[in-house]
């Protein structure tokens, strides 16, 4: 087996046993990235020098007897998470040259745990998109089929994990941006409960919805990364108090007695037959393993997407107002006066989708429209959350397809609304602040199908059990090496 095929826990184990050094692993992965990423294009920036240096230091530290959980393990980070001294661009011309003077809290914690940060991955600009086609800099292809999108907005992170360029990567999820690309690329992707992982250092898109989360090729790796990253942060007022350390072994404890609800609204007309069949197939296998499955209903589901686009665009329009080129970021060279400088800098720096969302967000917050849209959306949010609360009185988890389809082709969804509908199964989870994981459950037409498991607030532990069971039934899922 090649070094690049191992997962995080496996590498940590090899390193601990001294069977391999971090420098060896890192070198192997950097080589793999060099060959593979030409086609996949997952990385915006590979920090070869920095990674090798960190690997070397990790090896030295291990010789000194240190044994942090990720010591010497290479990880990739989505380029909307601030890394001190390294460009963090959010795949936008607006931040093309921005170098943060500080590390995001998750990056700090990864470094404290000894991780080797290999590079920054491609994404939809400012995390707005579902295909990574909105990156201002490059195209990322789905490792399973280079003519298909990897999903978005964390397409780069999903792709590099699926292509075995790194064992794990960080993404961010506001409306499905971890789960949907995980689904398209055949990786495991977790959006934790809102507040589980500090948002300090995550370039804000929609503050009440954003969460950072891990991608990996198996569930134990995801649990290990959660152990390192999760927990309260005094720099984030919305980070939840209390810390839970997951017992990695309990991930394998199976699904006997697990009460599973299948919300019928998530298996409706808009979902492709092949996706539905693959997901049902996996659910049946869970039943055989002792889970109890029942159909249920979340009546307000149909309104979640509308509420999501109002809330996320409104918050985004405010969060992105700071990009004016005065203190950092793109600044126009030709302008008439101050107001014009702002307008030109922003128009030149932002891509089409970002501008669209800013316009929508500004509109729904503006005088005369606030009550009808934003206030309304916050009320509908309560209704959606209540739906889930009621469901979780009966069920331990809810299962659905992650995305209505498998990965689509480049340029296929040219209509903005059509693209937004790709998120229809993932956004309700962000609205309610719940944890959800996408795990590959099979192939349809040669492309991965993702199964989404939604859990109670802070019940990632149960998600892990369910996800692992599904993964075991899915068989070996790795894109053909080309």
């Amino acid at each position: 087996m090649e070094l690049y095929e191992y997962g995080v826990c496996e590498l940590a184990s090899l390193l601990k046993k001294g069977e391999v050094s971090s420098s060896q692993i890192t070198r192997a992965l950097l080589d793999r990235i060099e060959t593979r990423d030409k086609d996949v294009g997952a990385f915006l920036y590979v920090d070869r020098e920095g990674a090798l240096k960190a690997a070397d230091e990790a090896d030295k530290a291990r010789k000194d007897g240190r044994d942090e959980p990720l010591l010497g393990v290479p990880i990739a980070v989505k380029d909307n998470i601030c890394t001190k001294g390294t460009k963090t661009t959010c795949a936008s011309k607006m931040l093309e040259d921005f170098v943060p003077p500080y590390d995001a809290t998750v990056v700090k914690r990864l470094k404290q745990a000894g991780a080797v940060i290999v590079g920054k991955t491609n994404m939809d600009e400012f995390a707005m998109g579902s295909s990574t086609e909105n990156s201002a800099f490059k195209k990322t292809a789905n490792p399973w089929d280079y003519g298909k999108v990897p999903g978005g907005s964390s397409g780069g992170s999903a792709a590099c994990v699926a292509a075995s360029e790194v064992p794990a990567a960080l993404g961010s999820d506001t409306g499905g941006s971890i789960r949907q690309p995980a689904s398209f690329c055949g990786a495991v992707g977790l959006k934790p409960t809102y507040g589980r992982i500090s948002r300090y250092g995550l370039v804000a898109f929609a503050s009440s919805l954003d969460q950072i989360g891990p991608f990996a090729r198996n569930v134990q790796d995801v649990a290990l990364l959660m152990n390192v990253m999760a927990g309260p942060d005094e720099l984030d007022s919305t980070s939840a108090p209390g810390k839970e350390i997951y017992d990695l072994n309990s991930v394998k404890s199976g699904v006997r007695g697990l009460k599973i609800g299948l919300p019928k609204e998530y298996f409706g007309e808009g979902v492709s037959a092949e996706v539905k069949d693959t997901v049902y197939g996996a659910v049946k296998k869970l039943e055989k393993l002792g889970a109890v499955v029942e159909q249920t209903s979340l009546p307000y589901s149909g309104y979640a997407l509308a509420a999501y686009y109002i809330i996320s665009s409104a918050e985004a329009s405010s969060n992105l107002a700071r990009y004016d080129g005065i203190r950092y970021g793109h600044r126009a060279e030709k302008f008439d006066d101050l107001t014009d400088l702002y307008a030109r800098s922003r128009s030149e720096g932002f891509g089409k989708e970002v501008k669209r969302r800013i316009m929508l967000g500004t509109y729904v917050l503006s005088a005369g429209y606030y009550d009808a849209y934003y206030k309304k959306a916050l009320e509908v949010r309560t209704l959606i959350k209540n739906d889930f609360d009621r469901a979780f009185e009966k069920y331990d988890v809810l299962i659905s397809p992650t995305s209505p389809t498998v990965a689509f082709g480049f340029g296929e969804k040219s209509d903005p609304l059509e693209m937004y509908l790709a998120d229809i199964l993932t956004v309700p989870v962000n609205i309610a602040g719940l944890p959800a994981v996408s795990v590959p459950c099979g192939l349809a037409g040669g492309l991965p199908v993702g199964l989404q498991i939604i859990g109670r607030p802070f019940d990632e532990k149960t998600l892990f059990k369910g996800a692992d069971a599904v993964l075991q039934t899915a068989g070996k899922l790795r894109p053909e090496v080309r």
Binding site: I81, C82, T88, C90, L95, F98, P100, P101, Y102, A104, R199, Y200, G201, L202, V203, A204, A206, S207, S208, E234, L235, D236, S237, T238, A314, E315, S318, A321, R322, D324, I326, R327, Y328, L338, T339, Y342, T362, L365, S366, A367, Y370, Y374
Partner: protein, 480 residues
């Protein structure tokens, strides 16, 4: 037609916390530009605000001192607009659920005590500072001040004259200083005032068109601007013209108000609840805890001065209206004991000197210890009381100790009987007319002779002694 003004005031005061409202940067005034900043107050991508507990407590404390109702449930909101001094392009403020509501302040007008209502007092963050240099084609931004906590206090439009506005401001400043939540220094920007004024025919209940006034850098400017604007609006309405609803800038040099360009378009602030800050729940316990911490307020101190120190109501009122002044007074009384004596100094020489040199009570160049020692010199008859006043003036100008001044200028009182008697005899010799007047029944003549003796000794003679000795000598003459 007789018009009356309808005036409202909006006051922003910087809260005296050590660190900023959402980050740990210092709130210290001054400092080299952009040296009191961090990723949070600069609004760098990915940063988040964390609320400073003391800012909430100070806001509640001020609200309590202003007789407000404290909201049990409160939250922060985003006020969105673009300006170079606002790094996030939104100000975290409070919109519909401010911490404090429905308070009042009492002012003493010539017609008696009037209650000025306060609509709300809320917590928010300050913006940075813009410097405009005439010669340069650019403006410059310093973000040291971004994130300094502010309390914004909005009054009801209850004031009817510029004088009432001035009284309200004075009272408000005094209360804020007493609670120690702000040092209220307008010259340092820790107290800012905006006002709005409309006019209407006297007796009318309708409101006229409101005009906002900005760029008021002192209470005097507020007064003058309102005075000017009242006339401008009254004249205009008198001529049948419409008042434009606008924001006008007070031009101190020209003494007029001019419409402000940048405020032409009404702002749509698109307020929405701040997602990065969770709501604030204020319990009764917390309110009581804070209430207990409120230092003695001006009216309480005034009552205490009258009751315990037997000060006249007027004097107590003057002294307690100004926190630094009453602190000074109390420290003196603490050392010396007799409040009336100290009050004489404060009401007399201190206030006079402050006025003449245009100094704030916070900047009195004499220490309480020095004043008390000066009084002791008088008590010990080292100098006379009138000489004491001269020493005071010197002390005020130079800051030197009273003993040093007395020594340097050789001002010790002459209390030696023989020396004085010699001088008096000389004076009596030189002024036969006065002596004759006194003999003839004119009591006043003694005063003249005493005065001459004081003049002879260049004011250094012990006046009581001189008085006694002059009488003695005159009586001797009489007997002869």
């Amino acid at each position: 037609m007789d018009f009356e003004a309808v005036i409202g005031l909006e006051v922003h005061a910087e809260l005296l916390t050590k660190s900023k409202i959402f980050c740990g940067c210092t709130t210290e005034f001054g400092g080299q530009p952009n040296t009191h900043c961090c990723p949070v107050c600069l609004g760098l991508p990915g940063t988040l605000p964390v609320l400073n507990r003391r800012t909430v407590e100070y806001t509640i404390m001020a609200g309590l001192a202003l007789n407000c109702t404290i909201s049990k449930f409160s939250k922060m909101d985003r006020k969105n607009y673009f300006y170079p001094d606002l790094p996030k392009a939104y100000q975290i403020s409070q919109y519909d659920l401010p911490l404090c509501r429905e308070g009042y302040v009492e002012i003493e007008t010539e017609q008696g005590i009037k209650k000025i209502g306060i609509i709300r007092a809320h917590l928010e963050e300050d913006a940075g500072k813009l410097i405009h240099e005439e010669s340069e084609g650019s403006s410059f931004v310093d973000y040291n001040r971004t994130g300094v906590p502010l309390i914004e206090i909005v009054s009801y439009p209850d004031m009817r004259t510029p004088e009432e506005a001035r009284l309200y401001l004075t009272k408000l400043k005094s209360i804020l200083e007493y609670t120690e939540v702000s040092d209220c220094k307008m010259q340092e920007g820790s107290l800012r005032v905006d006002t709005n004024i409309s006019v209407r025919p006297k007796g009318s209940e309708e409101f006229g068109t409101k005009v906002e006034l900005k760029n008021l850098s002192s209470f005097r400017a507020v007064y003058k601007a309102l005075e000017y604007e009242f006339k401008r609006q009254s004249d205009a309405v008198g001529r049948g013209e419409k008042i434009a609803q606008e924001t006008r800038r007070w031009d101190e040099a020209k003494g007029i108000t001019i419409p402000m360009r940048s405020k032409e378009e009404a702002h749509d602030y698109r307020y929405f609840p701040e997602p990065d800050i969770v709501p604030i729940e204020v319990t009764d316990e917390w309110i009581e805890e804070i209430r207990k911490k409120i230092p003695e307020l001006p009216h309480q101190k005034k009552e205490r001065f009258v009751r315990d120190m037997d000060l006249p109501v007027y004097d107590a009122g003057v002294i307690t209206a100004d926190k630094a002044l009453s602190d000074f007074f109390e420290r003196c009384v603490g050392i010396y004991g007799n409040p009336k004596t100290i009050s004489n100094w404060v009401m007399g020489e201190i206030l006079r000197s402050m006025k003449e040199s245009e100094i704030d009570s916070a900047d009195i160049p004499i220490s309480p210890e020095q004043l008390v020692r000066l009084q002791k010199l008088v008590d010990d008859s080292v100098i006379s009381i009138s000489m004491g006043k001269k020493v005071f003036d010197s002390m005020f100008k130079t800051g030197k100790d009273p003993e040093v001044i007395v020594k340097e200028e050789g001002l010790s009182q002459i209390s030696d009987e023989d020396t004085l008697r010699a001088v008096i005899l000389k004076v009596i010799d030189n002024n036969p007319k006065s002596v004759a007047d006194y003999m003839g029944g004119k009591e006043k003549a003694i005063g003249f002779l005493v005065g001459q003796a004081m003049k002879e000794t260049r004011g250094k003679a012990n006046p009581q002694m001189v008085n006694e000795l002059v009488r003695e000598e005159l009586n001797k003459i009489n007997k002869n």
